[in-house]
């Protein structure tokens, strides 16, 4: 009898404790980083899968390895999954020198028992979600925050306070229709923002990013492309812009066609098509992963650490060294400014094709959407 009574009460207690404890669900990975100690982090291989979107009830929140996931929608869905949104943004350790770490001092740890959140994902938000109300409007969003690795280490050693920690924030919003219809334009930002008059059109480099871009010195860059809006905040605008070009590439690469329709670019090396789909035009400048040069007898040497990601390409005594998020490359003839920054994508660095190829002694000929690399 005691056993049954204990079991019965036990079951009921478990049920009652589970209710209202949704925020406590999930798993936060820990990782030892030399000089930094234990950080809460998500290792891709270890990350448990997100729950199926279909199983997420409206208003349901869940934490999966530092990813705070909220589905607000009711019956309607935009058909985007958390993984779709993650493809639009840099991975947790993809920006050298930066790491996605939870805020070192946050009241929320105490208030909600939440730790390790560095990425916020909102699915199927609906209503007045943009800058203008749009009937039936919907939006998904991902916001991820990285912190300076060196500064975080100094903070952990008690040599820096949390207020001084620099951060990179990248937010990508995906709307159910062209983002312009939701009011995502410079003119709307100008009048709705306290410092709107200081927002400047375009980019710091002067290169046209997305359909429309604007920035607020000294940190923030905005751009819009089709259904997507991207906001990048980094300690300096050149870094913000370099990060932003990589995001535009990701949007254009996205399998769910979130970017602008583009005619495919065919890259031919020794008359064979190479790097299909990965070679695209970013506002008139063709960019491609460095590996597309390998069939042209280019040898690549990658050096990737927590703080630096460089690739040296060599061919017939000529060489080029590029660095992730840099606006210039080193060559055997000196430094060269780039038309587009170098950025990572799926474990490789993407570079402005013509500039890098020519620096390696490869002639680049373009006819329409076909580009041929002709080793000299």
């Amino acid at each position: 009898m005691r056993l049954i009574l204990t079991l019965g009460i036990g079951v009921l207690l478990v049920i009652s404790l589970m209710e209202g404890q949704v925020l406590q669900e999930g798993y936060i990975g820990k990782k030892e980083i030399p000089g930094l100690g234990t950080v809460l982090i998500w290792g891709r291989k270890e990350r448990p899968p997100y729950p199926s979107v279909e199983l997420l009830k409206p208003q349901h929140t869940v934490i999966v390895d530092g990813h705070f996931l909220l589905r607000r929608g009711s019956q309607r869905t935009m058909g985007l999954r958390p993984e779709d949104l993650e493809q639009l943004i840099y991975d947790l350790e993809e920006i050298p020198g930066w790491i996605t770490a939870p805020p070192p001092e946050s009241m929320h740890k105490k208030i909600y028992g939440l730790q390790g959140v560095h990425t916020i994902i909102n699915l199927d938000d609906f209503g007045y979600v943009g800058l203008k109300p749009v009937p039936g409007g919907m939006r998904c969003r991902i916001l991820r925050i990285w912190r300076d690795l060196t500064q975080l280490s100094e903070y952990n050693q008690g040599r820096r306070n949390s207020q001084e920690l620099k951060a990179i924030e990248i937010e990508v919003r995906v709307y159910d229709r062209p983002a312009k219809e939701h009011g995502e334009t410079l003119s709307e930002y100008r009048w709705q923002s306290q410092a709107g008059m200081r927002m400047k059109e375009g980019t710091l480099s002067g290169f046209p990013l997305g359909e429309e871009s604007w920035y607020l010195e000294p940190t923030t860059l905005f751009f819009r492309i089709n259904r997507c809006v991207v906001i990048v905040r980094a300690p300096d605008l050149w870094l913000s812009e370099a990060l932003a070009w990589g995001i535009e590439y990701r949007i254009q690469q996205h399998p769910k066609m979130l970017g602008m329709a583009q005619k495919p670019v065919t890259l031919l090396v020794a008359n064979k098509p190479i790097g299909q789909g990965k070679v695209i035009s970013l506002a008139g400048v063709t960019v491609a992963p460095l590996s597309t040069l390998e069939p042209a007898q280019v040898a690549l040497e990658t050096k990737r650490t927590k703080t630096e990601w460089t690739v040296t390409a060599r061919r017939n005594g000529q060489w080029v060294k590029v660095k992730a998020f840099s606006w210039e490359m080193e060559t055997d003839k000196g430094k060269v400014k780039l038309e587009r920054p170098v950025f990572p994508y799926k474990g490789e660095l993407v570079v402005p094709l013509r500039q890098v190829a020519e620096a390696l002694g490869i002639s680049v000929q373009q006819k329409g959407q076909t580009i041929a690399l002709l080793p000299k």
Partner: protein, 403 residues
Amino acid sequence: MRLRQAISFFLIFLLSAFALAVDVALDGTHYPLRWGEREPIEDDLVKPYPPPIWANGYAACFKRGSQITLRLIRRQGDPEVQGWKVLYAELRSKVTGEVYWKHGESRMLGPNETYTLGSVPEFIEWAELRGSVIMMVGPPSEPEPGGSETSLLVQTIDRVTEIFVVLDEPKAPMDPAWVSVLRISCQWARGESTVEGAARKLTMELHRNGNYNGGELAYTRYPSDPDTGEYFYLRAYLEDDLGRGRYWGQCNDFADFLTCLITSVGTPRSVQRTHPLVTIRRITDLPNGNPGYLLVFETNPLDAAPTGPSSWDGQSSWAYHQFCLDWANNEVWDGSIAFILDSFVFGLPREPDYRNHLVLRYIFLDLVTRQEVRIDEPSFFWQPTPSPSGFIPGVYASALPSK
């Protein structure tokens, strides 16, 4: 015999489930709450209420100094309670860990008897009421035929309820107050027993813990006439802070959030802007007689949140600035900025003190000559909007429907 015993066990099991439904009320001067997780508000209320109950995962809000008394709430269909007693109870600060009072085992109480625990502090506090109640639960009033006539369940359940102690009934837009906001306001203003003291603490803590974003649109949205008010997406604001670790936004967000913090502990406040947003209302006659459109005003040097050196300190050029207003006294409370010489903005008279500390000069566009005109007189075009009392922001847990 075995069958009879099995039925008896099953009944006891069922009774334990029923027994969970016998709620223990927390009587005193209390106020309704909402979780701050969803809209509409009816789906978001902390229920059951009134009165608040002592149960796990539950929250209750009491007026400072209020006495908490326990009582069983008997609802139709609940099992008969023959008697009950408090095994232990304690009120402990969640901020400091201090225990305000502790009760040991009480005598056996009749089902309709009440039991006085003690008073909540005379100041703002975020606490938890921890304890255990034992109930002697008899069979339901109409026992199952063939069931055990002698079954009597002795059940104890440990209970923890969050207790928020506030100065007075929470005011709009925090009526009812959000649990997610009280967790912050009652922590920051803990120990304060006056309206002035609480507002000072909340303003100061917001400035210390906030992160002014340089003046870009964040969590507020405007109605068709923006000069009449705005919507504040408070849940999104708080959720994004999970990653940022700081309360991030432009002046609108700071002013709205400070208003939520102060009103949540029972003090009325509104929100006001220094200038209208609608173009036609930003036009005035310039000293040369031409109409001029207000582009921006330049500020004196400011310490933007967070307190101490940060990215946006110094002089700024703003189209407007938004602040929290004590409209009864025309005093300004501002958590987004501090004045470098005079520090935090604690109830500064809106005119002339706050205005003169804030505004260095106005920059107009002369609509006839198309030239910029600078006017170094803070009172020249000071247009608190909406006038005279500001507005109460509409505070939401999700985006507004857009029809």
